[in-house]
């Protein structure tokens, strides 16, 4: 199993600013995943964060908008850049070890 600490749990941000979300895992994991869940929608995979290499982004997501860092095997950050109200969502980090373990989520509201 894995325990993931994600912060902040929620934030309200102004349009045009950026927010960095952090996830800390209690064990070393090869891959970490970042998801977005828009209101009333399913989880959409943003990217896979690999240690020592650039993140792999899914279709519709780009590095300039969602830069990801993965400095070691227990930590990752996702930045939501130049935010607009359409970025208001829950952002979730997770790790996979036969099943997915999730952080508690970051509820982001952009005004």
């Amino acid at each position: 199993s894995a325990v993931i600490s994600q912060k902040p749990s929620r934030d309200i941000c102004q349009r045009g600013t950026s927010l960095t979300i952090q996830c800390q895992v209690d064990s070393q994991v090869t891959m970490m995943f970042w998801y977005r869940q828009q209101p009333g929608q399913s989880l959409t995979l943003i990217a896979t964060a690999n240690q020592g290499s650039e993140a792999t982004y899914e279709s519709g997501f780009v590095i300039d908008k969602f830069p990801i860092s993965r400095p070691n095997l227990t930590f990752s950050t996702l930045t939501v850049s130049n935010m607009s109200p359409e970025d208001s969502s829950i952002y979730l980090c997770s790790v996979y070890s036969e099943k997915l373990f999730f952080g508690s989520g970051t509820q982001l509201s952009v005004l």
């Binding site: 993931i4 994600q6 891959m31 995943f33 869940q37 009333g40 929608q41 399913s42 989880l43 995979l45 896979t48 829950i90 979730l92 997770s94 996979y96 036969e98 099943k99 997915l100 373990f101 999730f102 952080g103 508690s104 989520g105 509820q107």
Partner: protein, 111 residues
């Protein structure tokens, strides 16, 4: 990648009743997992059923899998108000390492 499609989208029952949620998917899978999400927070893994299994139990949860019909069901018996949450199925296709999610079933259990 494929995602599961849950049915119904919403389910409202009284405490003590059973709740049944269904999931359909499109291609062959290694396993299928069910997750629960409370109030837009992080998802919690409930149960995993492998492609060679037909039924699995965990406490008040019963999951079935019919690979010929590409469908699964989650039964919660003797429901409680604390079971109120969204439930997601996540089929894991062969050759993939990351499950994907549908929109989920929103379950409300009235005390």
């Amino acid at each position: 990648s494929q995602q599961g499609e849950e049915d119904p989208q919403a389910l409202s029952i009284q405490e003590g009743e059973n709740a049944t949620m269904n999931c359909s998917y499109k291609t062959s899978i290694n396993n299928l997992q069910w997750y629960r999400q409370n109030s837009g927070r992080g998802l919690v893994h409930l149960i995993l059923i492998r492609s060679n299994e037909r039924e699995k139990h965990s406490g008040r949860l019963r999951v079935t899998l019919d690979t010929s019909k590409k469908s699964s069901s989650l039964l919660i018996t003797a429901s409680r108000a604390a079971d109120t949450a969204s439930y997601f199925c996540a089929p894991l296709p062969g050759g993939s390492y990351i499950p994907t999610f549908g929109r989920g079933t929103s379950l409300i259990v009235h005390p």
